[in-house]
Symmetry: C2
């Protein structure tokens, strides 16, 4: 199992910090946004003598409340269709266990969130990447390209919408194309929608759960982490209208006993957050996106699309090997005592040789810091020896 490309650079970052250099962390999806006060207060006000197991499927009150949350997103669900998991991570582990057997193949548009592949590898599930490209704006590959990849072993398609790492937002039309492929080939469609709240496009978000006729096929991976900036509570959900699948997932849930109690208490409270919180967070990310993308495109040789969702962009840099650049900027460069940490693009591609001139940048820092980070990147590219002119 390969080391996470995002975390591979950690020793270089630690060493830079030891030399007294300030690092702007554009490499990880840990926002600086405050967790809602209602969530933190719910934790501060706990009145329990025993911190005991909760139901394996999650506290019933949380599952019930989630039906209201999803209804507000135009997704009609019963609480039996919602299982609480230990973060979105566990939701995808359970989904993999329930939907696939060793030797099965899943098609995933690349670049994709690298952590998917770690557990898939360990379970003997083969990921078949299908390229989405910067040049096509990271749009969904054509149906023909999907059809070429489908074999008797193909059992599922996995999408992330809005997309980490590209920021691409799939359109309703693209999801309908996926529906046809899924139905024709009797596949599971796993949809990671943890960035649902962060869509910067008037068309808004269209959930895979709203694809008619796919009730037995769609599995939603979801999480409280990004929505309420509470990544540490480790609360996510696995959602499906496929009763057999939920019943199978429940067996895994029972085998691991229960999701975290304290995180669930924070999650229940988070669902009561004032609409102003969500609106303010949205505005903040939109502003950050604009500052970042405008700034990147002003740097000679750098290109970024305008991401329509999530809080990442896959930017093109004028370098031969972005992994080397990301290491070099930590180990051999500083500008006024500062440098930046970014995630090399190649780590998000399963196909070798792709993403060599790309980096994933997370806009999880405030505008002032983003501006400073942009200056560092510009200054670094002026002197970087591996630059392409």
């Amino acid at each position: 199992m390969p080391a996470s490309p995002i975390r591979k650079l950690v020793p270089y970052a630690n060493s830079a910090k030891q030399r007294g250099i300030k690092i702007y962390h554009l490499n990880i999806g840990q926002p600086d946004i405050h967790t809602p006060k209602v969530a933190i207060n719910a934790i501060k006000n706990i009145d329990r003598k025993v911190l005991e197991y909760s139901d394996s499927a999650g506290i019933p009150a949380l599952r019930e409340k989630l039906t209201h949350y999803y209804r507000a997103q135009n997704i009609e669900l019963s609480k039996e269709e919602i299982m609480v998991t230990t973060g979105g991570s566990e939701a995808f582990i359970f989904a993999f266990f329930c939907c696939f057997n060793p030797g099965d193949e899943i098609i995933i548009p690349e670049p994709f969130y690298a952590n998917y592949s770690s557990f898939a590898n360990a379970m003997g599930i083969n990921i078949k990447p299908i390229s989405s490209t910067f040049e096509r704006g990271f749009a969904l590959p054509t149906i023909e390209k999907f059809e070429k990849l489908i074999t008797p072993q193909t059992k599922g398609i996995f999408i992330c919408n809005p997309n980490n790492p590209t920021g691409y937002l799939y359109s309703k039309e693209e999801l309908h194309q996926l529906r046809d492929i899924v139905l024709q080939n009797n596949l599971f469609l796993l949809s990671d929608e943890v960035y649902r709240e962060f869509c910067y496009d008037e068309r808004g978000h269209f959930s895979a759960l709203n694809l008619k006729g796919l009730e037995e096929n769609v599995v939603l991976i979801d999480s409280f982490s990004k929505r309420y900036s509470e990544c540490g509570i480790r609360i996510g959900t696995l959602v499906s209208r496929n009763k057999e699948l939920i019943s199978s997932a429940l067996k895994f849930a029972q085998a691991r006993l229960s999701p975290p109690l304290l995180g669930q208490i924070a999650a229940i409270a988070s669902l009561d957050v004032a609409p102003k919180y969500t609106a303010d967070v949205y505005k903040e990310y939109l502003q950050r996106r604009d500052v970042l993308v405008e700034g990147l495109n002003k740097i000679p040789g750098v290109k970024s699309l305008i991401p329509k969702g999530a809080f990442y962009t896959m930017a093109k840099l004028p370098v031969k090997d972005s992994e080397h650049f990301c290491q070099w900027i930590l180990s051999d460069f500083e500008y006024q005592g500062q440098t930046v940490m970014m995630a090399p693009g190649s780590g998000f591609y399963s196909s070798r040789y792709l993403g060599k001139d790309e980096v994933r940048i997370a806009y999880v820092l405030n505008v002032e810091e983003l501006k400073k980070a942009l200056i560092v990147i510009e200054k670094a590219l002026e002197v970087y020896p591996g630059k392409i002119n």
Copy 2:
């Protein structure tokens, strides 16, 4: 994947509750013991704006503090050898992923904690049970019996010490026997020691980590859940002196991002608990054990050994099919508006036909309730139609 035998009876219990019957839950390992106040206060006093990811391997201060905890248990470790997991459950999932491949075999003395097998099944790992029997006091099977089971596919032995469900405490001598088998066959030895604090024998607990020469072979599964009665915080540890194994586990840990932050905050505080807490809890369980075992052995036809650890006993009942009895006592019996829920023994055996006259009883209720539950069992056996005379 089979449904958890412990949870299979839940619908019958729910139905009994709806009929207004009080149920004594002897079926689960959820103690009624209070969580230490220091842990709950640490949660109430959190002073954070963002509930963020922690390090994938766990908060460094927690890992550091755990080295002191283990030192007090005569186990010398560095913090690099300790990884924080989401409960003991995740520790065994990681251990399975790191130590074994599909097709590999693990030998586990049965009866064993049923949840081990769920994930093993899903990973294609074959569990080879080796019988420990009531008649031999659930002692470790002989070396010869282990040797008969070992094939080229055998890659590990998994023990739980003190044992869930039998309450058996392995002696130093038995562990040395295991050491020889492990070394001769180059196996991993996975040792679940989550009940370490609950040993009712002057010999005390001997940890697999203290077996000389097995530094590369031993993997410890541990948890805060039972020790501090905080099952819901979902904090455990995976411990090994095998650097390659810990490095491999770290990759899985990174892929799931981080263990629960709030649970770790409670865990850090729990390690400061006053010695009186631990001593009081110990005395309480000892008293419960004595009341339960004495009471069971007074019921005609019922037999229990004296468990030397954990808080379970595998009792023999004078019935043909304990699974039927456990269901019947919920669905067709009550004594003064009360009944009991127990875990059928067969669910803890991988070999068919074993454990048919056994039940696992957890002494996680107070002495008064245990006494009432014992009366219910006695009265039930007097009228149960499937009784053996």
